[in-house]
Amino acid sequence: MATDVILPKVDMDMATGTVSKWYVADGDTVKKGQPVFDIETDKAAMEIESPADGVIRIRETRTGVALPIGEILAVIFAAGEAQKMDAPKAAAAASAATPAAKAAPAPEDKVVTISSSTSSQIRATPLARRLARQNGLTLGQITGSGPRGRIVAADVTSHSQAKPAAASLPVAPSTPAPEGLVVKPFDGMRKTIAQRLTQSKQTVPHFYLEATCTIDTLLAIRERLNATLTKSGKGKLSINDFIIKAMGVALQQVPAANVSYVDGGAAQHVSSDVGVAVSVEGGLFTPVVRNVETKTLSQISAEVKDLAARARDRKLQPSEYAGGSAAVSNLGMYGVEKFTAIINPPQASILAVGAAVERFVPVNKQPVLKTQMTVTLSVDHRTVDGALGAQLLQAFKTLIEDPALMLV
């Protein structure tokens, strides 16, 4: 009866082997024990003997090709036996693992949270971190007394004792999902938004200043400029571009408000770096337009469009949304007339801009139709007080109601 001649396993860690040489040809008569081929592994070649007497029909003639262990290379038939053999299967998979598909990078991988990067530079013992977390304190606010400025538990307790209001905020109770509702877990961006804005609301002493701006002049100038820009194929300006510019110039005019909060102090900015809130699917980014005071409206417009597009594609670099002393958030396009925004720490303020609304306004005791928009400035009382905030808002209002003033 027919005897298979297989590719044998000869080494412990062997998955495949190659036939390096055949000693017999297809159809030869062989004797048991006679060498039929050499097997080659990583270690060395080894002679393989015939397992039986008979006529050898070789099924797999290739040499130098990696074959799996147990592969039937030939069959030895007894004299006079019918020589029926299956065709060899398609080439066995050579060694090496299938290349793993590279996983598409998850969007959240790209979002580097600013707060975590700052806190990872802060040295604090595990106990100190836990106490701070439990008491809703930011480590950044606490001075460390340990080696290399490490915050220890005592620093947290003494800090919270000095500032009972801030420290005694209870930990948010855990909020389980209501029955029957599908829960969409937070991705990286949402987690960041949740954490930063909660922290901002809890730790930054916000106050709010509101002003109504008459924007007829602004709208007229914009229309004129856009007509020219369109004719020469350039991009149109939006109201928001003017608002950003106005904010930037206002910060230059009220430099004491052009600050951001640091541990135990206010950092004085020189240029006006203004953040612009951009809504993206599932969240929001606030990329910063730097040196606004030096840029033309067109430049600001182009830059904001680019930043917004990249924000929507989640392609912003962390450096592009870090820093700045103030930000602008505009919900006017949704018909919101007035709102208050949450400050992005460590910035000192954020301007919430409402929709343009037509209303009758008394001028010399006569009703005149004007277009107005309401802006609300949220201010961090640690760095900017009421009067200073009011000055900043006043400066902005003056500029936005008469944009020509931004040229001087």
Binding site: I6, M46, I69, G70
Partner: protein, 345 residues
């Protein structure tokens, strides 16, 4: 041949060797059966291995069946053996069932070691087999210790230590034999000298011509026998057993033999010649035993053929049993590290 009275020694020519006189027909038939079982088991284990069905490696004792069976055939379950990494033959010789050995090689829970030991640590404590050992010389102190335990409880049992020519140069060999000699322990050291450690011959490794020459250095008799002649092996063992059971102390038996396969399957046999291998194949212990059984009229050709056929059937069932075995669960990874599970770290 009248097979109805198994205990009666059958009619033999006058010059039959003592081995044949001392054992009944059934015992001799069983010895042949075990030799065939070892031979065919090893060949089938080898086949499984080359097909990639078994993990790890294997050290085959093809050609050394006479020493395994000749030494073990007169031992009881209460007598201990320790074995080497080339231990399948000893395991079968001492009474193991091949189905549990196959199961062990396939890593199954039904295996003798529940899949945790594999070929190199195959053991069967129920038949007194304290295990094959992955360390050359590892079993020497263990067998010596088992003999000490027997002596302390004033027992009549013995411990038998199988070891190879390679082990006779390990420190453990010298320390163990010395203690056995000093304390006159009931231990029998059986050296299966197959002339090569892994690739280094005894000529190149050992300062004396025969391992048995060292016995005198440790206060015990050392005898040399043809390891491929079961009768010779058993006769030497009979004398050693009597010494041990009578409290006269240890003995060393050197079985000169040969392994026709390489040290392990990875062996390229570069250290010896084909002619040498062929020469020893001509001294195969099984045909030699069969020839004597027929010559002394103990078994007929048919009976011999019957033994072989029964062995084939047993092996097939054993293989199927093992293939159908249960794989261990990862959850049981640390089971049996300690006697009280959860003793942990």
């Amino acid at each position: 041949m009248d097979g109805s009275d198994a205990m009666k020694t059958p009619k033999k020519p006058g010059n039959a060797r003592p081995f044949y006189a001392r054992h009944s027909k059934d015992e001799l038939k069983e010895a042949l059966r075990k030799m065939w079982l070892i031979r065919r088991f090893e060949e089938q284990a080898e086949d499984s291995y080359v097909r990639g069905l078994t993990h790890g490696t294997m050290h085959l004792s093809i050609g050394q069946e006479a020493s395994a069976v000749g030494i073990c055939m007169d031992l009881k379950n209460a007598d201990y053996i320790t074995s080497t990494h080339r231990g399948h033959g000893h395991c079968i010789g001492k009474g193991a069932e091949v189905k549990y050995m196959f199961a062990e090689f396939f890593g199954k829970e039904e295996g003798y070691c529940r899949g945790r030991g594999g070929s190199m640590h195959i053991a069967d404590p129920a038949t007194g087999n304290l295990g094959a050992n992955g360390i050359v010389g590892g079993g020497l102190p263990l067998a010596t210790g088992a003999a000490l335990a027997i002596q302390l409880r004033k027992g009549k049992d013995v411990a038998v230590c199988f070891f190879g020519d390679g082990a006779n140069n390990e420190g453990a060999f010298h320390e163990s034999l010395n203690m056995a000699g000093v304390w006159k322990l009931p231990v029998i050291y059986v050296c299966e000298n197959n002339q090569y450690g892994m690739s280094v011959s005894t000529e190149r490794s050992t300062a004396v011509k025969n391992v048995a020459d060292r016995a005198a250095g440790y206060g015990m008799p050392g005898v040399i026998v043809d390891g491929n002649d079961i009768a010779a092996v058993n006769e030497a063992m009979e004398a050693a057993l009597e010494r041990a059971r009578n409290g006269e102390g240890p003995s060393l038996i050197e079985c000169k033999t040969y392994r026709t396969r390489g040290h392990s399957r990875s062996d390229r046999n570069r250290y010896r010649t084909k002619e040498e291998i062929e020469e020893w194949k001509g001294k195969d212990p099984i045909p030699a035993f069969e020839a004597e059984l027929e010559k002394y009229g103990i078994l007929t050709k048919d009976e011999v053929e019957g033994v072989r056929a029964a062995v084939e059937a047993e092996l097939k069932d054993a293989f199927d049993f093992a293939q159908a075995g249960t794989n261990p669960l990862v959850a049981d990874l640390t089971r049996d590290v300690y006697t009280t599970d959860g003793a942990a770290a």
